[in-house]
């Protein structure tokens, strides 16, 4: 089970409703030291998923992706994923950073992202963090190995693409098919409106509601994350 799926594992029927990521941000050499932190937040029973997710994601300086859904009882949840190169945070916080985490620039980045989340949760006292996990490159690659995927092509992916692959899996796509279709098309040989990006192809199919149909020939009605 991938790291993202594991974070959702303790929830009761985590039906996926919304999905988004930011592709317009990059740092030079980010893959060398990119720190990634994911949190699953359960929202208030009557709170609006789309608005709360958009509000929180926009408030987070390092937000790179988010997922949202509802549990079986209708309570909404969001998964907020932040990413920042450790060196960027280290430079910004110096010289104070050195005193706190002299040998752990990565920890400084994680603290910075945690601080962002704590700040945004100040605006919502009904929101409750129910799971959290660090998703560094090594761990993401390990997820692909555990999924039985041929690692050779995946090793060349950026950390962001590894993360987007796991998001595609949460959406219900077969990870092996995503890897096989990288980089351009998730559903070669099947009629679909191709996005010319394997991840966008999956996300667009998920939004249309025909991901399952394209992925394995079922009717596409069930949008529940697989693997739980």
């Amino acid at each position: 089970m991938s790291s993202l799926m594991t974070l959702l594992d303790g929830m009761d029927g985590p039906w996926l409703r919304t999905l988004g990521y930011r592709s317009n941000r990059s740092w030079p050499g980010e893959d060398d030291d990119l720190a990634v932190l994911a949190h699953v937040v359960r929202l208030g029973e009557d709170q609006n998923l789309q608005v709360e997710q958009d509000f929180m994601e926009a408030q987070l300086s390092f937000s790179c992706a988010s997922l949202g859904g509802t549990e079986a009882n209708g309570v909404p949840w969001v998964m907020l994923i932040q990413a920042v190169p450790a060196s960027v945070v280290w430079s910004a916080n110096a010289p104070h950073a050195e005193a706190r985490h002299a040998n752990a620039p990565h920890a400084e980045a994680l603290w910075a992202m945690l601080g962002e989340l704590v700040a945004v949760l100040e605006y919502n006292d009904e929101a409750e963090t129910i799971a959290a996990g660090e998703l560094d490159r090594g761990r993401l690659l390990g997820d692909y190995i555990l999924a039985g995927v041929d690692l050779e092509p995946v090793e060349g992916w950026s950390t962001r693409d590894l993360l987007r692959g796991e998001m595609a899996e949460v959406a219900g796509a077969d990870l092996g098919r995503v890897v096989a279709g990288y980089p351009e098309c998730a559903f070669p040989g099947r009629p679909h409106c191709c996005e010319h990006d394997v991840f966008d192809d999956v996300f667009a199919a998920w939004r249309r509601g025909d991901l399952a149909k394209l992925d394995d020939g079922t009717d596409g009605a069930d949008q529940r994350p697989t693997g739980t």
Binding site: V51, D54, E57, A58, Q59, D125
Partner: protein, 148 residues
């Protein structure tokens, strides 16, 4: 922080209210208002409020959430004591574009704290319901009748 009324919107913007004691004149009912956007949070604290402030605010929010054309059909909210005004700029079936302004005096100045943002009708209605929850004896049906 525990806010009494939350009105978050898209794009990280929103307005949050909390009951307070007014700073001037002292010991009268007041309100703290936070205007939030990515990278900024402006708090206007301990403003006095006029009579029936919360009930009028709830009725206004519920009315604009329910109205098909709130910019045309619902008069803007204005509370002279606090300087808080809210009006609707744009709307569609799901969303409302809100303009919130807090004036220091009776004359509107260019430096007054303000916020333009978009939220959903459901969230605006929920803000009205949150106000109702702290106003004993006020039923939501009253708001609906007022909105017709």
């Amino acid at each position: 922080m525990r806010y009494d009324v939350r009105l978050p919107g898209f794009g990280g913007a929103g307005v949050f209210w909390k009951r307070a004691i007014a700073g001037e004149p002292a010991s009268l009912p007041g309100v703290d208002v936070w205007l939030v956007a990515p990278g900024s949070c402006v708090g206007v604290l301990r403003r006095p409020v006029g009579p029936g402030f919360w009930e009028r605010l709830a009725r206004y929010l519920f009315a604009i959430a329910a109205s098909a054309a709130p910019a045309r059909d619902v008069p803007a909210f204005w509370d002279a004591a606090s300087g808080l005004s809210i009006d609707v700029g744009t709307s569609d079936n799901e969303r409302l574009g809100l303009r919130v302004l807090i004036t220091e005096d009776t004359l509107i100045g260019t430096d007054d704290p303000g916020l333009d943002f978009e939220s959903s009708r459901a969230v605006v209605a929920n803000a009205a319901i949150e106000i109702r929850a702290m106003l004993p004896g006020v039923e939501l049906v009253d708001f609906a009748e007022w909105a017709r």
